[in-house]
């Protein structure tokens, strides 16, 4: 468990970092390293250059930008979990960050790193999907914004190009959001076997808008559109929630692994969509 060698750069500006990425083949961004370094130790990933973005000033903050909040690339899970702005305006993301891994990993791993890594079972991607966030990607070719709904492409594959850095995520304010999971060790511990994040805009006995995201269930975290359609415009009551939960895995291929069969995981997706909706609409 000793990584192969590589070149290491720790630029102090975003431009330098972009240049370093553009100039090397098989370069990797290093933020918290909580996924990248274990993979390198197992020699499953062998970058020739590692670009450590932790020394670029200004990336480690969460800021209020009026209609949205902005979470910089070096914001750690622990910061996301406890930040008052995130807890108020992006509750599901705060909950997902708090439910990620353990204290030490939350101290070191970053929210943006988790999203860029695009693990099938990562917690926070579900939250950014449900919250309708957008991802800010920078490269020496310029900056672009990618909506969360377009960001997760496949297992460990995001919409980022290999020379792009996810510099921040922008989460719109408004509505109510919740994250609920069953972890691999039971309770919330460890990666989810299945989990759901929901965002609703509801009041006066009706749900005017909703987004429902599921993680740990299919080859990527996804928006369960049919489930959201079922709750949107409804009274948010038990029947509507059940109806929505029943659509949790529409149109996706449910994965089987050590922790769940297809039937069980399909069922769990429904249970957690239901639990998250119940909490959000309570």
């Amino acid at each position: 468990m000793y990584p192969p060698n590589f070149d290491y750069v720790a630029p102090t500006s975003l431009d330098e970092a972009c240049a370093a990425l553009a100039g090397a083949d098989n370069a990797k961004v290093l933020s918290g390293g909580m996924s990248l370094i274990p993979l390198m130790k197992m020699r499953l990933v062998r970058p020739t250059t590692v670009v450590d973005i932790s020394r670029i000033p200004g990336l480690d903050t969460i800021t209020d930008e009026g209609d949205h909040i902005r979470i910089g690339a070096m914001v750690r899970h622990a910061q996301t979990a406890s930040d008052p702005l995130v807890r108020e305006h992006a509750t599901a993301l705060a909950e997902a960050a708090a439910a990620t891994a353990d204290a030490q990993v939350r101290n070191q791993g970053t929210t943006c790193g988790s999203i860029a890594h695009a693990d099938v079972a990562a917690d926070q991607p579900a939250a950014v999907l449900a919250l309708g966030a957008s991802m800010v990607a920078a490269s020496s070719r310029g900056e672009r914004e990618i909506p969360a709904s377009d960001f997760f492409v496949d297992t460990l594959t995001s919409a980022l190009e290999s020379d792009e850095i996810l510099t921040a995520i922008k989460v719109p304010k408004g509505g109510t959001s919740v994250y609920r999971k069953l972890g691999r060790r039971g309770g919330e511990a460890d990666y989810p076997i299945a989990a759901a994040a929901v965002w609703v805009d509801a009041g006066n006995g009706s749900v005017s808008d909703a987004r429902i995201a599921v993680t740990g269930v299919s080859s990527k975290p996804y928006l369960a559109a049919a489930a959201a359609d079922a709750i949107r415009g409804s009274d948010g009551g038990a029947a509507a929630i059940d109806e929505a939960a029943g659509h949790a895995t529409d149109d996706v291929i449910v994965l089987e692994d050590l922790y769940a069969t297809v039937d069980y995981r399909t069922h769990l997706a429904e249970v957690y969509v239901k639990r998250a909706l119940e909490a959000a609409l309570a």
Binding site: N5, R43, R184, G187, A189, L258, V271
Partner: protein, 792 residues
């Protein structure tokens, strides 16, 4: 023992802790030697394959790589030695074929671990994959043979086979058969898996060898529970006398049986050091621990119980296939035998059994905490619960109706062994009264009425440990297989130094059990020398007395007794010297407050320093007395010891997800007399946690190709602090008479009692839904599936 200080039986903070809590402990990987090199192994990706060729040239060209060894280099050393050498032993490096994924094929030695790993990446092995057999039943049917031409079934422990010529046991089968045919009896039967586990001491194994040319001797640091046995094995392999091999086991970061083995890497680093003339180290990675160290459990079996409808058990049958893995190690085939020793548990019941020891293309199994006994207790205590449910009786009542009674002791069990002492009903009642069993049942029932799934699970157990009688050597329980003809005796040397402080040197060393403290308590109690003036040394095969090691909950009962006896002899001699110095009769000498005085006149006193000073200046001693003040004792107990206990758990199952929450856990154990209650409780806590781990979390999972899918801690989920509750402990005390301390052993008890306690509780929570059994680990998916299946 006349107690002159009160440290025995008292809570004493551990002597070993100040070093460990400051990061000053020395584990093998902490030892540094000038000029040392590091080794990394190249391991097989196949479960069964022929090796056509190995190309090491690219690795050797890498700067910093010193050597790459393969079977060609080490074949002359023979296979990895084992104690109970039944079946095929492991070659030091795969020789022409591999038999499991992860088998070591080549060893790369380089300037650093990083470079050794770079080198390992450049070793190319040309494999020709063949058929592997992973499934135990298929292996038992010999569908594919692990070793061509050899049946996979190495032997079957059944009937009188093992006792042939030792004891003549009546065959219980006709009696059991007759009971089954009676109208007033009920027979229940369950097939159950006791899954394979990866022991996972948090310290991975580590070795460091320094071969001293000229002397042709070797110093081997190894994270081992059995340094003497390793020394014997190394001496045997290299054809040098055992006094040329110093094996040092310094701090050992947990053992649990996995470090109770002689491993090829221990031999190979010695070989490499000899060849290269430099110290060579290897430290296991966590992933490698799934291949390079032994695993535990791995039984598929059927338990059948017959009894009357009012709870009298008339027969118990156990048949199981036990996974040995691809090669045998230290005790591999003897582990099921240890289970057999306690197959009938605490009950006076006719018992028949057949345990098939079967090879598969997987890593070797051997002793893991409890070693055979948790498996045996699991089958028995699961089926007795099933039987109780079938006849509608409380599981506690069924147990009590079949226990041996205190007046029956010493009991000869259905397996023909003699149990020392036990008071099982009192122990169980102590637990049930303490927890208000009836109240708990009412609470469970009330919750169930609200649709919540609460379950209560009970298990009682008896363990056999404290090995062991010297005579067991004839049955393979010795180190003779390592060229070290020694039975499982205990040894202890107690020496009072010339300044009146004391050193105790023992043949067994801790891997967390606190020997330094407990042993110091024994000696302090016997001599009246304060704890802080007693140093306990261990873990050096040359400096420690000839010892056997720490396993099978044996250290205190056997080696502790040796030390106790040595203490008594030192005390006798000291009394003579003190009498001489004080001009008093030896019988009038009493020891207290760091010295000796004449009974009734406390000011006629000498200190231990003065006694020792005299002892080391023989001209001041009584005529004819030898100088020195030390004693060395080898102790062989007349029997093993038989601790027992009762465990109870309360769980809640989430009906929607199958997630099990362990709400409360209670245990009342009986390990005879207790020297340090704090340490004993600690052993029970850890033991219970490992049983819960088996019940709820852990499993070594192989795919059909023999790949271990759970080699990393990411996929082999050890329980963490948040997944366990605090435990509520108590004990009863039923001393043994097989040793003068009256102590039995507590290292494994918690593990033996706990896995089935949890399973019984979970099954209790869902039994009204029609679930009879769920195989471990009770991960949410299994529990949910069982509830679903019961709906059909």
């Amino acid at each position: 023992m006349t107690t002159s200080t009160s440290v025995m039986g008292g809570i004493v903070r551990r002597k070993e802790d100040p070093s460990l809590i400051q990061g000053k402990g020395t584990y093998v990987d902490d030892v540094k030697r000038a000029g040392e090199l590091a080794a990394v192994f190249v391991r097989s990706p196949f479960a069964a394959a022929k090796i056509n060729s190995i190309d090491v040239s690219a690795a050797l060209e890498l700067e910093g790589v010193h050597a790459v060894y393969t079977a060609d280099d080490v074949r002359h050393l023979g296979p990895n030695p084992a104690q109970v050498a039944v079946g095929t032993l492991r070659p030091l490096l795969a020789d022409g074929a591999v038999k499991h994924v992860g088998e070591a094929v080549a060893m790369v030695v380089a300037d650093s671990r990083y470079i050794a790993q770079d080198g390992a990446d450049l070793v190319f092995v040309d494999y020709e994959p063949g058929d592997a057999v992973i499934d135990l039943k298929e292996a038992h049917a010999d569908k594919v043979q692990v070793h061509e031409g050899e049946s996979n079934t190495l032997l079957t422990w059944a009937g009188n086979a093992w006792w042939e010529g030792v004891i003549d046991l009546p065959d219980p089968s006709p009696e059991i058969q007759a009971a089954k045919e009676r109208d007033d009896t009920v027979t229940v039967s369950l097939e159950m898996v006791n899954q394979r586990l990866i022991p996972t001491a948090i310290e991975p194994r580590a070795v460091l060898a320094d071969w001293r040319g000229g002397y042709e001797s070797v110093e081997l640091w190894s994270s081992s529970q059995i340094p003497h046995a390793v020394a014997g094995a190394v001496a045997g392999v290299f054809g040098i006398p055992s006094n040329k091999v110093r094996v040092i086991a310094p701090e050992v970061g947990g053992g649990f049986g996995l470090k109770l083995n002689v491993y090829p890497d221990e031999i190979l680093v010695c070989f490499a050091s000899k060849q290269l003339g430099r110290p060579v180290r290897w430290t296991e990675t966590r992933r490698e621990a799934g291949f390079a160290s032994i695993q535990g459990r791995g039984w598929v079996g059927t338990a059948t119980m017959t009894g009357t409808k009012d709870g009298k058990i008339l027969g118990y049958e156990l048949e199981a296939i036990c996974d040995m893995g691809a090669y045998t190690h230290n005790f591999t085939v003897a582990i099921p035998l240890l289970g057999l020793f306690v197959a009938p548990g605490q009950y006076d019941i006719p018992t028949s059994y057949a345990l098939h020891c079967v090879m598969t293309n997987t890593p070797t199994t051997d002793a893991y905490r409890g070693a055979g006994r948790p498996e045996a207790a699991y089958y028995l205590e699961r089926i007795i619960d099933d039987f109780a449910r079938e006849i509608g009786m409380d599981p506690a009542d069924v147990r009590k109706a079949n226990y041996w009674k205190p007046e029956d002791f010493p009991v000869t069990t259905a397996i023909g062994l003699t149990m020392d002492s036990g008071d099982y009903a009192t122990n169980l009642d102590a637990l049930l009264d303490r927890v208000d069993y009836e109240g708990l049942k009412a609470k469970r029932d009330a919750a169930r009425a609200e649709g919540r799934l609460l379950g209560l699970g009970l298990s009682t157990y008896v363990e056999v440990c404290g090995f062991g009688p010297s005579a067991l050597a004839g049955l393979g329980f010795s180190w003779a297989g390592y060229g070290l003809p020694t039975a499982f005796n205990g040894s202890g040397v107690v020496r009072v130094q010339p300044d009146g402080t004391c050193t105790v040197t023992i043949g067994t060393g801790p891997s967390g059990q606190g020997h330094e403290t407990t042993w110091a308590q024994i000696v302090s109690d016997g001599l009246g020398i304060p704890m802080e003036n007693i140093e306990v040394q261990h873990g050096d095969s040359l400096d420690s007395p000839m010892g056997v090691g720490t396993f099978g909950s044996r250290s205190l009962a056997v080696d502790g007794t040796a030390t106790y006896e040595a203490t008594g002899r030192v005390r006798e001699k000291a009394a003579k010297i003190a009498g001489h110095l004080l001009e008093a009769a030896e019988q009038d000498i009493q020891f207290a407050d760091g010295g000796a005085h004449v009974a009734g006149s406390p000011d006629r006193a000498v200190t231990w320093g003065q006694i020792a000073e005299a002892a080391y200046q023989p001209h001041t001693l009584p005529e004819g007395m030898e100088g020195g003040l030390e004693s060395s004792v080898v102790f062989s107990p007349p029997n093993a010891t038989w601790p027992f206990g009762s465990h109870l758990a309360l769980v809640e199952v989430d009906p929607d997800t199958g997630d099990v929450k362990l709400l409360e856990y209670w245990a009342t154990d009986d390990c005879g007399n207790v020297i340090n209650p704090m340490i004993v409780d600690g052993q029970v806590h850890g033991g219970i946690a490992q049983g819960i781990a088996q019940a709820l979390f852990e499993e070594a999972i192989y795919d059909d190709m023999g790949n271990l899918l759970t080699a990393s801690l990411a996929d082999y989920p050890l329980p963490d602090a948040a997944s366990l509750p605090s435990f509520s402990l108590d004990r009863t005390v039923t001393p043994t008479d097989v040793n003068p301390l009256g102590v039995k052993g507590i290292g494994e008890a918690g593990t033996i009692g706990s896995a089935q306690t949890i399973v019984n509780a979970v099954v209790d929570a869902v039994s009204h839904l029609g679930v009879r059994h769920i195989d471990m680990p009770l991960r949410p998916k299994r529990v949910w599936q069982a509830i679903e299946d019961a709906k059909e």
